[in-house]
Amino acid sequence: MTNTTNQKQNFIKGIVKENPVFVMLLGMCPTLGVTSSAFNGLGMGIATLFVLLMSNIVVSLVKSQIPTKVRIPAFIIIIASFVTVVEMMLEAFIPFLYEQLGIFIPLIVVNCLILGRAEAFASKSNLISSIIDALGMGLGFVLALTVLGATREVLGNGSIFEIKFVSEEANTFILFILPPGAFIALAYLTVLFNKISIKS
């Protein structure tokens, strides 16, 4: 009974209390780089979720076989392999998304969220906990990127998931689509998120 409650908390912490983007500020490169639309944010989030899940599983399985001193290179090789798999799969089966995400797919390798979870959690926990941790953290990341992407798309382009709700000629805050807008939107969303999550 306590075990399931623990696992539930383990899952929820990644979405709320330890949200990788809004609370821990991990993985900022893709967070700022690809969230110019809700769809891009969602796609990037799901690709990261998959890599995080697979790397957490493998790291937690092989943790006792890896000598402490070489654990970081070992984790990075595991993560890089899965990222390359994701990249080839995307190019083969979802070429549209592959083009949109571009250089940010190989950069998942250096997303500190993934290495961070491998180092701080999966290398110390059993398989089940690691899977749940990856799902929680990954979903937290997906949600954060989608919300950020949606905010920027609504303000900057007057659309959401590419569905326009303002006329073609209407002026939108183009700034929000541009890189500075990513920082501004992220800052305000972080404040908002923490305000709400501290209250509750």
Binding site: S36, S37, V62, K63, S64, Q65, I66, P67, T68, K69, V70, P73, A74, I77, I78, A80, S81, T84, V85, M88, M89, E91, A92, F93, P95, G102, G156, N157, E168, T172, I174, I177, L178
Partner: protein, 202 residues
């Protein structure tokens, strides 16, 4: 389970095993995806060709003609289209390095007289929301059914007849340059392209 000690041998063996396994996995996935990746690329090319060319019944991808040009680093791709062995048009890939973020690649479809039928953007890295609007029908529409021999492809700021995208003059300029390049290659090669099919029947 106890952790393995960090002896030289242990470290070497564990890294060796991990890299070995990941090498095998990647090789396997690579084998698995090579086919679909090539197919996806080909499909994208065929879709673009269908958009810019009139109805055709030959296989332009196989009859591709590559020409060298002083204007571009790579050889230029020219896809001739025939319908009932009559020359109906040609698609030419034009490029410009002068986009706001570098390379812009477009495919321009011409009818046999050099009138632009349609344009598809193949590669661009322009600013989202500004330069990316070059993909919109509204912008491309300015080029359609125009013959560059009697139509100045440059943007209005440079004395031409194309209204540049708001906030993306550089992108628009590069786009026009790529169209111009495609048209130049059309003029340079039109005679040899027309002969292609006729030769086949001789």
């Amino acid at each position: 389970m106890r952790k393995k000690k960090s002896t030289f041998l242990n470290m070497m063996v564990s890294l060796l095993v991990i890299t070995l396994i990941s090498g095998f996995v990647l090789g396997f996935v690579n084998d698995l995806t090579t086919g679909p990746i090539a197919e996806a690329k080909l499909e994208r090319k065929i879709n673009a060709l269908k958009l810019v060319l009139p109805k055709f019944d030959n296989n332009p991808v196989e009859e591709i003609k590559l020409v060298r040009s002083g204007q571009a680093k790579d050889s230029i791709e020219i896809y001739p289209a025939f319908f009932k062995s009559e020359f109906v048009g040609v698609a030419i890939v034009g490029a410009s390095e002068k986009g706001f973020s570098g390379l812009i690649k477009i495919m321009v479809g011409f009818d046999p007289y050099g009138k632009i039928k349609n344009i598809v953007v193949l590669v661009q890295k322009e600013t989202p929301g500004l330069g990316t609007k070059m993909k919109d029908a509204k912008f491309i529409h300015q080029y359609i059914n125009k013959n560059p021999s009697s139509f100045n492809l440059k943007v209005t700021k440079d004395g031409g007849e194309i209204d540049a995208l708001t906030g993306a003059t550089i992108s628009s300029r590069a786009f026009s340059e790529a169209v111009q390049m495609a048209y130049d290659e059309f003029l340079n090669n039109i005679d040899s392209i027309k002969e292609l099919k006729i030769k086949d029947y001789d």
